[in-house]
Symmetry: C2
Subunit: 415 residues, 2 copies
C-alpha cells in the first residue's frame, strides 16, 4: 500500500477522468450506451462518479479495512445475485428528465456489464431484487376480522404473504436534479458541499463528474402479485408510499399514524394482488421527515411542553423552530421510482399527503382513487398530527376549523 494519500478534489495525475472511455451518458437507451457507473475505491483512476457504494455504510467498510478484516481492494463476487424477478427496461428509462435520483440499470450490472466486470472493473449493483415471505400481526388480525381472505398463494391462512422486494440505493444525476428543483447545477453542488460541512469536495471542484452517490438511506420496495405485469396499461396498481418512522413502524409509538397506515396500505396491496393487479409498498429511509430522530425527539418535547399543550395549530411551528423547516423529505424526487417501474397510473393510492400527491401529478402520474386511513386506526395521541395535516391540505373528507385546532388533544410529556 502506497504511503502517499491522494486527495480527491482534483483528477489524479494520469487518470483518464470522466471524459474518456468511461463517460456516463445519462438517459441513454441501453446500458452499454449509458456506460457503467464506477465508484470503486480500490481503483480510483477508473471512477466516474462522486461518492461510493453502500452510502454511509462505507464508514463501516473503513473500520473493516482499518482493523485488518477486509482487503482494501476487495471486489464482490456477484455469482447468483441477479434479480429474482425482471424489472424493465421501460420506455421511461430513456425519457429525458424522468429519472434523476436512481440508476434504472442498477439491478442489471452483473449481466449488462458482464464483460467489463470479467476484465476486472469494479462495477456494483445499486439495486437488488429478492423474494420473501412476510408476516405482520396486523394482517393476521385482518384475516380474523374478515377483511382479508387467504387464497393459499399470495396470502396464507397463517398470515404469511409472498412478496418480491427490492432495495434501491440513491444515484443522483446532478444536472437532472437541479432541473427538477428549478435551480442551477452549480448552486445545488455548492449547497450540497456546504451544508454537509464539506463532504465530497468534488461536488464543487469536479463539474465533469455528473453523477453522485449520496450517503443517504435508499428505499425498499415490497411488491404483491406479479411484478412483470407492471408497465402494461391494463395492470391495476395499488400503492402505499411510506416514509420511515422507526418509533411507530417498529415499536408502535402512538403519537403518529405511521405503522397503522403502513399495515392498512399492505391490506390494500394484498387485495389488489388478489384481484390480479399489483400492490406496491415503498419504504423510504427518511426518518423524522428526513430531519433525523434527534431533531424529531427535540420537537416532541417542545410540542408537549409548550404553553397550552400539544395541539394541531402549533404542530408545524414547533418543527420549524427547531429545524427551520416543516419537512425535508422533498417528494419532488419520489416519482422517479414509478417511472423506473413503468407505472403511469395508480388506481388505489393509500396516502393522504398532499405533497406526495402533488409530486406525482407534477410528474404526469395519474392517481385514480385516494384511500385515507380508516378513522378507527388512528391512535388517540396522533390526532394532533392528523388535524394539523388535514388543515394544511391533507386529503380528507373533513377539515377541522381554527377552534378545533386550538384544543390541546395530545398527552402531556410526563403522562
Amino acid at each position: 500500500m502506497s504511503a502517499h494519500i491522494v486527495l480527491t478534489s482534483h483528477p489524479a495525475r494520469g487518470a483518464t477522468g470522466a471524459n474518456a472511455s468511461h463517460a456516463v451518458h445519462w438517459g441513454a437507451e441501453t446500458a452499454q450506451a449509458r456506460g457503467p457507473l464506477v465508484a470503486s475505491v480500490a481503483n480510483p483512476a477508473t471512477r466516474n462518479v462522486i461518492g461510493t457504494h453502500a452510502g454511509a455504510y462505507s464508514v463501516y467498510r473503513a473500520l473493516a479495512v482499518a482493523s485488518g478484516q477486509l482487503q482494501r481492494d476487495h471486489k464482490p463476487d456477484l455469482t447468483d445475485t441477479t434479480p429474482a424477478e425482471a424489472i424493465g427496461p421501460h420506455p421511461q428509462w430513456a425519457e429525458p428528465g424522468k429519472i434523476v435520483s436512481l440508476d434504472p440499470w442498477g439491478h442489471l450490472v452483473a449481466s449488462e456489464f458482464k464483460a467489463q466486470i470479467a476484465e476486472g472493473m469494479d462495477i456494483r449493483p445499486t439495486i437488488a431484487i429478492t423474494k420473501a415471505h412476510i408476516n405482520m400481526p396486523e394482517l393476521v388480525g385482518a384475516i380474523a376480522a374478515g377483511r382479508l381472505h387467504p387464497d393459499g398463494d399470495i396470502l396464507q391462512a397463517n398470515g404469511d404473504v409472498k412478496v418480491t422486494k427490492a432495495a434501491v440505493d440513491p444515484v443522483w444525476h446532478l444536472p437532472g436534479l437541479a432541473e427538477r428543483f428549478g435551480i442551477k447545477e452549480s448552486q445545488l453542488r455548492r449547497h450540497l458541499f456546504e451544508q454537509t460541512a464539506g463532504m465530497f469536495p468534488e461536488l464543487v471542484t469536479r463539474p465533469d463528474l455528473k453523477v453522485f452517490l449520496p450517503p443517504i438511506g435508499g428505499m425498499t420496495l415490497y411488491f404483491f402479485g406479479d411484478v412483470t405485469k407492471l408497465g402494461r396499461p391494463e395492470t391495476k396498481v395499488a400503492c402505499r408510499l411510506h416514509d420511515e418512522c422507526n418509533g411507530s413502524d417498529v415499536f408502535g409509538s402512538d403519537i403518529c399514524t405511521c405503522r397503522p397506515y403502513l399495515a392498512h396500505g399492505i391490506e390494500v396491496c394484498i387485495e389488489m394482488a388478489q384481484q390480479g393487479g399489483v400492490g406496491l409498498v415503498i419504504y423510504n429511509r427518511k426518518e423524522g421527515r428526513a430531519l433525523g430522530e434527534v431533531t424529531k425527539f427535540l420537537v416532541y418535547n417542545a410540542r408537549k411542553r409548550q404553553v397550552g399543550g400539544d395541539r394541531a395549530e402549533t404542530y408545524f411551528t414547533r418543527t420549524e423552530c427547531v429545524a427551520g423547516v416543516q419537512d425535508m423529505r422533498f417528494q419532488e424526487l419520489m416519482p422517479d421510482v414509478f417511472h423506473w417501474l413503468g407505472i403511469t397510473r395508480i388506481d388505489r393510492w393509500a396516502s393522504m399527503s398532499n405533497m406526495k400527491h402533488g409530486a406525482l401529478v407534477e410528474q404526469g402520474i395519474e392517481v385514480v382513487e385516494r384511500v385515507p386511513i380508516p378513522e378507527e386506526l388512528i391512535p388517540a395521541d396522533a390526532s394532533v398530527e392528523m388535524d394539523a395535516k388535514k388543515a394544511a391540505g391533507y386529503f380528507s373528507t373533513y377539515t377541522p376549523d381554527a377552534s378545533e385546532l386550538a384544543v390541546a388533544k395530545g398527552r402531556g410529556l410526563m403522562e
Copy 2:
C-alpha cells in the same frame, strides 16, 4: 452570500482552529472543561469537529437550502427541548477510553452551554430524550397468553407501554477509536477517507481536529421503568441490544429472528421494570450487519440459488463472497452506551451473539444471565441462520454438528 467557495481541507484564513478557545478536551470531568463541540455550517470559522449534525440528513438540509426553503444560517431554537428524564453525569464519562463513540454531554448542550448559545454560538444536541407510549401486537399477544401482566402503570391492559426514549447520534473521538481497535490514528483516518471515496478530506489533512461526526445512523434507546435508577449498583437491568433489520423489524420477513427476538426482549424488559429494575432496548441503525440492504438482498439471492440450497454450512461464506467480510457491525464500540448510562452489570441479557457478549466483557461490563430466544419464536426459514450462528459460537444449549449444517433448511428463492 459570498461567491467564493471555501474548501475545507485546510484551516480557513483567519480561522482560530481547534487550538484556540474552542479546543475540545475529550473526557474532561465537566462539560465546560470539555468544551462545546461546534459543527456549525453557518459559521465555519468556529468549527472544531469534522462533519456536521444530523449525519447523512445534512444532504437533505442542502436540498432545503438549495431550493430556497431553509436559511443557510438557520440556528435551532432549543426552547422546551431539554431531556424529559435526567441521565448522568456518571463517573464513566470522565474515565479514559470508556466513551469514544458518542458525546456524553450530547443531551445537555442547551443547559451546559447556555451562555455560549446566548452569545450566538451554533451548538446543537447530539442526543434527545423524550417520553412515549408504545404498543406492539406481540405484547398484546403476550398479555393474552398470560406471559405479561398489566400493572396499570408501566403496562396497560390494552398493551400500551410507557417508555422513556433517547435518540443518540454518533460522535467519534478519533484517537480513542483508534486505541479501541488497537491501530494508529493516522491509519484509521486514512481508511475512513479512502473507503468513503474521499468523504471529508480533513480526516487526513487536519490532524488537529480530533472529533468526527460520521454520517452514519445512530441508535435509539427505549427505557422501561425509572431511568434515574441507572448507575446505582443495586438496580437490576435487563437489556436487548438490537441491530436494525428493516425487513423483519417492520415487515416480519421470516428469514431471520430479528423482530421475534426484539419483541421477546421487550417482554423481558417490561418484566424487569415491573420488578423494580430497569429494562433497556438499544436499537442500532446498522442495517444488514452494517452492509446495507442492497448487499443483504444480493446475499439472500446467492444463498437461495447456490447448488445444494440454503443451508447453515455456507451461510457465512455467501456473505463473504459478496461483501468480503461476514459482518461489519463492529461491536467494539457498542459498550460505550452502557458506560454513558452508568451500567456496570446487566442482569438479564436478551441476546445470543458471542460478538456482542465478548465486546461487553472486554469493556468490563458483567453479564449475569444470557436469555436465548425461545425456540417457538424462530420462523422455519430462519433456522439456516440460527444453526450457522450456533455453530459459530452463538450462546445456546445445543450446537448443531456438521451433518446437520449440511442439510438445506431454507426455502428456495422462487417458493
